[in-house]
Amino acid sequence: MNNIAAPPPTGEPDLSVRLGNMLLANPVMTASGTCGYADEYADFTDLSQLGAFVTKAISKTPRKGNESYRVIETRAGLLNAIGLANIGLARFLKEKIPLLEKMGVPVIVNVPGWQIEDYADVAERLDHESPVVRGIELNVSCPNVKSGLSFGTDAVRLAQLVAAVRRRVSRCTLIVKLSPNVTDIAVTARAAVEAGADCLSLVNTFTAMVVDIEKGRPWLANGVGGLSGPAIKPIAVYMVHRVYSQVARKHQIPLIGMGGIQSWSDAVEFLLAGATAVAVGTALFIDPAIPLKICEGLREYLTRKEKKNVIEIIGALAMPEEGRAGGNS
C-alpha cells in the first residue's frame, strides 16, 4: 500500500513524516505546476523516491490558460503567468490517474476554482473516485487569474470556502495552499484551520511584474505573474515560521513549506522554521533530481546533528523572544 513507508535501514535517520492521514516516506515533495501530472517528468528522476507528488492544478473543465509569453526569468527566480492551463477533471481521471497509481507515493491533487462550487465539486469527485489521490490541495492563492486572488486574501471568504469543501471531503487530507500576497499570513492561516483544513501549504507565488523596456510594456502577456525561486525563499521561510508560531503549533496542523528551495540546506531552514514537509518547484526545471538530493543531504545533516528522526528538527528553531521577529531593519 502507498501509505506504508518503508522503514529506513538501521542506523539511518528516519525521514518519514505524517501529513493529516498521509504517511510520507520522506518530507520532500514536488510543488504544484512544476512537474505536470508526473508522466512528462518520469524520464528525468525516480518519482518513487519522492515523499509525495503534487499535480498541476486540475479544474472542473479544461482551461487553455493565458496567451504567450507566459514566463520570464528574473535575477534569482522565475515569473510565470500560466493561467492554470490544464486538461480538466474528466481527462485527468481517465488519462493520468492510471499512471499516478503506478508511482507508489501519495498523490496530492491541486484544485483551483473561481467560486466555491468549482472547488467543492472537483474535491468531492477526487475524494470518492480516486483512491490513489490521498490529498487535495486547494489553490486559493493563484495570482494569475483575476478572480483567483480573492479567496486567498480574504479570511472570511476563505473560511467559507474551506468549510464548504470540508463538508464534501472525508477520505482525503485537506490542504489549503496559502497566498503570500497578504498583510499577515497568520490571519488567513487561522481562518483556514478553524474552518477545517488538515494541513496548510505555503507559499504560492508573489504577484510581480517584469517590464520589457524595449517595447515599454509588461513582458508577460498577462501583464503580471507570480514570482518563484530563490528570490522569494527568505520571505517564505519567515511566513512558514509566522504561521507555525501563531497558528499551526497550537492547532497541531502540519505545514508544507515551499518557495525557492534548491538544496537540502534550504529544506532544513523550512523544517526548522516549522514545516513538516517541503516542496520543490521552480528548481526542478534546473535539476529534476533535486528532491532526491535533498533527501540525501537531509539524512547526512540529521546524522551529523545526531537526530534519529526528522521530526526532531521540525519547528526546533531557537527564536529570540517572540514579538521581536516582526520588528526589523
Binding site: 508522466d39 528522476t45 518519482l47 507566459r70 523596456i213 535539476d287 529534476p288
Partner: protein
C-alpha cells in the same frame, strides 16, 4: 541514478527513448562568424535523437572549466568585446540602450536554455546514433546571459544538459525531395536534417538566410560556384555540399547571396521549378516566427507539406510547466487549442499552426 524507474518498469512508457540529464565536456567552441559559435560537447550515453530535437543547457559563469580563461577570439568582436560597448552613461541615439549592456548582462543565468542539435557523431567523427561516446554539436548566437557564458567556454569545461527533448522532423516514406529552409539560429537543425537525408539518399535543396553577410554562420569556400545572387541552387555552402546538397543563400540586406529574406529565395526557386509538387516534396523550416509564417504560406500556395520547428520561451523543456504554448488547430478540429513547443513540438505541421 535510477531514472524514471517506477513508470518504465510498470511498462507505462510506450517505447519512448530514455532521456535525461547528462554532462557535456567541451571539446571545441569555434567562432563561426560575428556572434555565432559552434560548440562541440562530448557526452557519454546520449540516447538516439532525430533532427529538430533539442537539448536544454545549463552553463554558469566559471562553472566547471578545467582550463584557464583565454580572451575571446578577435573574430568574435562585438558582444564578446565588452570594451567596445557603450557604458550606461554613454548611451546615445546611435547606441540606444539594449539588454546587451555589460552591466545588466553581468547577471547569472538562472534556468536552462534550449538549443537545437546541429550534428552528432561518434568519437571517431562518424555519423552515429548509438555510440557510447557522442559528440554533440550546437550552434549558437550570443544574445544574452547563457549564450555569453557559452561564448567563454574552453575545451575541458563542462556543462549540464537535458535531452534529447521534443519531437523532431518526420521524414515521410514518400519523400523524394526535401526543401530545407533555415534562417539565423534556425539553420542548425537543418544541418542535422541534411545529414540524415543524405544517409537515406533523399535529395534536398537548402535555403539559408541571415541578416547580413557577417552574421552568416556557414562556410562558403573560396572555390564555390558564383554568383550567389540568383535563385539557382549550387554547391556553394560547405556544410550542405558535403552531403551533396545544393543551396541558395539570402541576406536581409543583400550583402551576401540573394537580397531579402530567405523566403524570397524559396519563392523564386519554386517559380522556376514548376514540376515540384506535394506528392514527393516536403518543406522543412526553422527560423524566426515571421519567416516560418511566410514559408508556411508559400508552401501552402504550392500545396507542399511543410514542417516547422517553432521557438517559444521555455522554462523547463520537459513538458511540465506549460510555458511554451503554440496555438494549434489541425484541419477538422472545431476549436483551437494550445500545444507545447517543447513536448508536442518543436516540430509541427505548418498547416496546423495558428500563426501570430
Amino acid at each position: 541514478m535510477r531514472r524514471g524507474l517506477c513508470f518504465r518498469d510498470a511498462g507505462a512508457v510506450d517505447g519512448t527513448p530514455p532521456r535525461g540529464e547528462f554532462t557535456g565536456i567541451v571539446r571545441a567552441n569555434q567562432a563561426l562568424c560575428r556572434e555565432h559559435y559552434r560548440l562541440t560537447l562530448e557526452v557519454v550515453g546520449f540516447p538516439p535523437s532525430t533532427p529538430g530535437q533539442f537539448i536544454e543547457i545549463l552553463s554558469l559563469p566559471g562553472g566547471g572549466s578545467t582550463e584557464k580563461r583565454r580572451p575571446t577570439p578577435a573574430s568574435s568582436a562585438g558582444p564578446g568585446d565588452e570594451t567596445a560597448r557603450p557604458r550606461e552613461w554613454q548611451w546615445t541615439a546611435a547606441a540606444p540602450p539594449r539588454f546587451t549592456d555589460p552591466d545588466l548582462i553581468a547577471q547569472r543565468p538562472y534556468l536552462r536554455r534550449p538549443f537545437s542539435i546541429a550534428q552528432r557523431r561518434d568519437a571517431r567523427g562518424q555519423q552515429s546514433d548509438s555510440a557510447a561516446v557522442t559528440q554533440l554539436d550546437i550552434m549558437y548566437r550570443v544574445v544574452g546571459k547563457t549564450t555569453r557564458v557559452l561564448e567563454q567556454l574552453r575545451p575541458g569545461a563542462m556543462v549540464s544538459l537535458l535531452g534529447p527533448l521534443g519531437r523532431g522532423f518526420i521524414i515521410p516514406p514518400s519523400l523524394r525531395l526535401a526543401l530545407l529552409v533555415g534562417g539565423g539560429v534556425g539553420i542548425p537543425p537543418m544541418l542535422y536534417l541534411a545529414e540524415q537525408l543524405a544517409l537515406r539518399g533523399i535529395p534536398a535543396v537548402a535555403f539559408a538566410g541571415a541578416q547580413r553577410a557577417d552574421l552568416f554562420p556557414l562556410i562558403l569556400p573560396p572555390g564555390a560556384p558564383r554568383p550567389l545572387d540568383r535563385p539557382v541552387a549550387s554547391r556553394s555552402v560547405l556544410e550542405f555540399a558535403r552531403h551533396g546538397i545544393s543551396s541558395i543563400v539570402a541576406t536581409d540586406d543583400g550583402s551576401l547571396g540573394m537580397h531579402g529574406f530567405v523566403t524570397v529565395a524559396l519563392r523564386a526557386y519554386l517559380e522556376r521549378e514548376k514540376e515540384i509538387n506535394g506528392d514527393s516534396t516536403t518543406v522543412f523550416c526553422c527560423g524566426p516566427m515571421p519567416m516560418m509564417k511566410a514559408t508556411a504560406a508559400i508552401a501552402a500556395m504550392r500545396k507542399l507539406p511543410c514542417q516547422v520547428s517553432l521557438e517559444q520561451p521555455m522554462a523547463c523543456g520537459m513538458g511540465t510547466c506549460q510555458s511554451c504554448v503554440i496555438k494549434y488547430q489541425p484541419a477538422g478540429e472545431p476549436e483551437w487549442g494550445y500545444r507545447l513547443a517543447c513536448a508536442d513540438g518543436p516540430v509541427f505541421q505548418a498547416a496546423d499552426i495558428i500563426w501570430p
